[in-house]
Symmetry: C2
DNA sequence: TCGCCTATTTTTAGGAT
DNA sequence: AATCCTAAAAATAGGCG
């Protein structure tokens, strides 16, 4: 029963481990008690979460710690785990749906390419054949239209070039008439631009408008034309 | 400076609202202070979450309430919001990837069906045409094979039926020879089974094995045959 | 709502078990 | 680690501004 002097302790880390552990235990209980009292006295919801230095978890709650945490999260504007789970579920269903669609399309694509036909019955094969035939027709048609329009574009460009050429030549002639350059240079130009043809002169420069190309029957097979790469936009 | 008698309070709901509010405020600060002291004295992580009766949130934490909550959740085996977010992100990327693939396949499918060809260039159109042609060939081939095999199956079934029929007739003849049924019934049977043909009798019943069908040239267009629905497995 | 006051209750440091 | 003891420290009920 020896009474020992005590003095107020400083709020700083307790260095002596056993003392620290004891204090932790005592004060922890103290806080939990206070928390409970507060929740009862004032009808409030209280949660206390404590991790000891060793990582051990101690928690108290007037109701359920998880509930209080959920309420805390909704208060701080965070999405709850539940709504997150819902979203995840939705995304997964989405993925499954997309996968199914993809599988279906992949299958159809194979069939249209003439692959894996063995799992089609006669009826389906007939429909597929009709489809492929129709498709072939449209592809041919589109291709021919495209070829025509590209040839037109080429022809137009050619005409424009001829026109530009003629205007250039006209200028050259005028310049040579004024003695700025010699006639030899003009000859050189003409040979460079139309190899072997009769020289296009200024008088025919205005009526090079339409259908000046070679005749082309697009009704026939024109795979030889197709094979040349048309470098137009 | 009048000294007033005080007595220990009971831990039960404080009915008088103003007193309750004051107590809430005082004790709340008390708990927070204790919590802080504990965290410092014992180097522990502490979080206190309090909801007042009016729904107002008060929280204290030695570090960050969210961190403590995350630690709490990982301790109680729940998935953290973060890992959930990661998962969600992953799913979303998955969805985007699938959507892109789907779009691509849809496009290709359209082209193979001869739709939306205008956004193909000449080169692509040519490749597509080749593909469709090849596909058409394979579809035709497969269809013909299928038709052949179905006809074979039909023929086989037919032969089996004829065979069964003959055996049945043979029995009938034997039965009639024993006087169990009259000859009129046999005639009736024969007329029912082969309308107009000469009666198939027991002596031809054993050699109905192969190629007893009508001649069919499958090399030609056989769309008229295709149109009849073959109800075989 | 807050701070201040003060008598009283409650908590707790330190020791011992 | 928990519990008891005790004196000192801290918290706080109730009142007042």
């Amino acid at each position: 029963m020896v009474k020992i002097r005590k003095e107020k302790i400083k709020i700083r880390r307790i260095d002596y481990l056993p003392a620290r552990q004891v204090t932790f235990s005592k004060r922890r209980r103290g806080i939990f008690k206070k928390a409970e009292e507060l929740s009862i006295l004032c009808e409030s919801e209280v949660a206390v979460i404590i991790f000891s230095q060793t990582g051990k978890l101690f928690d108290f709650s007037s109701s359920s710690t998880k509930d209080v945490i959920a309420r805390y999260k909704s208060h701080t504007g965070e999405k709850s785990n539940q709504s997150m789970l819902d979203q995840l579920q939705l995304e997964k269903e989405n993925t499954i749906r997309l996968s199914k669609e993809l599988e279906d399309k992949t299958r159809k694509l194979r069939h249209l390419k003439g692959e894996e036909l063995q799992d089609l019955d006669l009826d389906e094969l007939q429909k597929l054949e009709k489809l492929v035939e129709a498709s072939h027709g449209r592809v041919m048609e589109t291709k021919e239209k495209k070829i025509m329009s590209e040839i037109m574009a080429l022809a137009k460009k050619g005409d424009e070039l001829v026109e530009a050429n003629n205007q250039l030549k006209q200028r050259m002639v005028m310049l040579s008439a004024r003695g700025d350059i010699g006639p030899a240079a003009i000859m050189e130009l003409e040979n460079l631009n139309n190899g072997g043809e009769e020289g296009v002169t200024s008088e025919s420069a205005t009526n090079v408008t339409t259908s000046s190309n070679s005749p082309l029957s697009l009704e026939d097979d024109c795979s030889d034309i197709l094979s040349l790469k048309l470098g137009l936009p």
